[in-house]
């Protein structure tokens, strides 16, 4: 590998790490949204039951 390719690899690794982090946070956000929806359903059914 040339010196320039090593530089590109180092900066690329940082970029990929940040992207991975964003993907993990996005997955977590989707899970939180799903769980919030389930809780809303639960609260609505409780209210309907009186």
């Amino acid at each position: 590998m040339s010196q320039g390719q090593y530089v590109a690899l180092a900066y690329g690794v940082v970029f990929v790490f940040v992207l991975l982090w964003v993907a993990i946070i996005a997955a977590k956000l989707a899970r939180l949204e799903r769980e919030t929806g389930e809780l809303v359903e639960l609260a609505r059914s409780r209210r309907a039951d009186g």
């Binding site: 180092a10 769980e35 809780l39």
Partner: protein
């Protein structure tokens, strides 16, 4: 403006500064006479390493506050800072390894105290997660994790100053008692990169903390409703 509403602004500022940092590091800063183009890894590698130290240090500070003042939120803050520290610690090891291969021809050198001590610090904080998830949630876990996080902070100055204490290493010393050993443009680019990486770490900390707090609130709500 509430702290949560300031997150998008922080994200835009971080993205802008990171873009500027990449341009300065790759296009504006002059090429190093000794190492050539591979020296450009320095502009991200060193700020990432300094940020990892800062994250571990802040994690320990929050742990100390937890032990002195108490408060569940400080446990979460300490945990989140340490998590950021391990992310940036892993990046330090990877980018450092790439730079070592480009400059020295090897991916790793066990003869360099700076590298080995940073690896020890990184592994110490990796073990923090094993400890944390092996103890049942509650005040006992908070205290044990806080004490562990505080022990780790002693490794930070040892790792940081190892480069100056040892003489059998090949890791370069850029910042000496005579100031930074680089030109003004290089130093300016380094400072912008440092600010960008620090801001990125702070943004990641804030986002993760919001996620973890929301997670905890939802758990509490689920228990209340069930």
């Amino acid at each position: 403006m509430s702290s949560r509403n300031s997150l998008p602004l922080l994200a835009f500022a971080t993205a802008g500064l990171l873009g500027l940092a990449v341009v300065l590091a790759l296009l504006v800063a002059p090429e190093d006479a000794d190492q050539g183009i591979s020296q450009r890894i320095f502009y991200f590698h060193v700020p990432i390493a300094l940020t990892a130290y800062a994250c571990f240090g802040l994690g320990a500070f929050k742990a100390l506050r937890l032990l002195v003042v108490g408060g569940e939120r400080r446990d979460l803050e300490s945990y989140t800072w340490i998590h950021q520290g391990t992310i940036f610690g892993a990046l330090t090891l990877i980018t450092g390894s790439i730079w070592a291969k480009a400059s020295w021809g090897v991916w790793w050198s066990w003869g360099s105290n700076q590298l080995v001590l940073f690896l020890v610090l990184f592994l110490f904080y990796c073990a923090y997660f094993m400890l944390r998830f092996s103890i049942e949630e509650g005040s006992r876990r908070e205290r044990i994790c806080a004490v562990y996080a505080l022990f780790g902070v002693a490794l930070i100055p040892v790792s940081f100053f190892a480069i100056r204490l040892a003489s059998d290493f090949i890791h370069p010393t850029v910042f000496t008692s005579n100031g930074p050993q680089m030109t003004g443009t290089m130093f300016g680019a380094f400072l912008v990169c440092w600010a960008a990486i620090t801001l990125l770490a702070y943004l990641m900390y804030r986002v993760e903390l919001v996620g973890k707090r929301t997670d905890a609130n939802l758990r509490e709500l689920r228990e209340a409703l069930s």
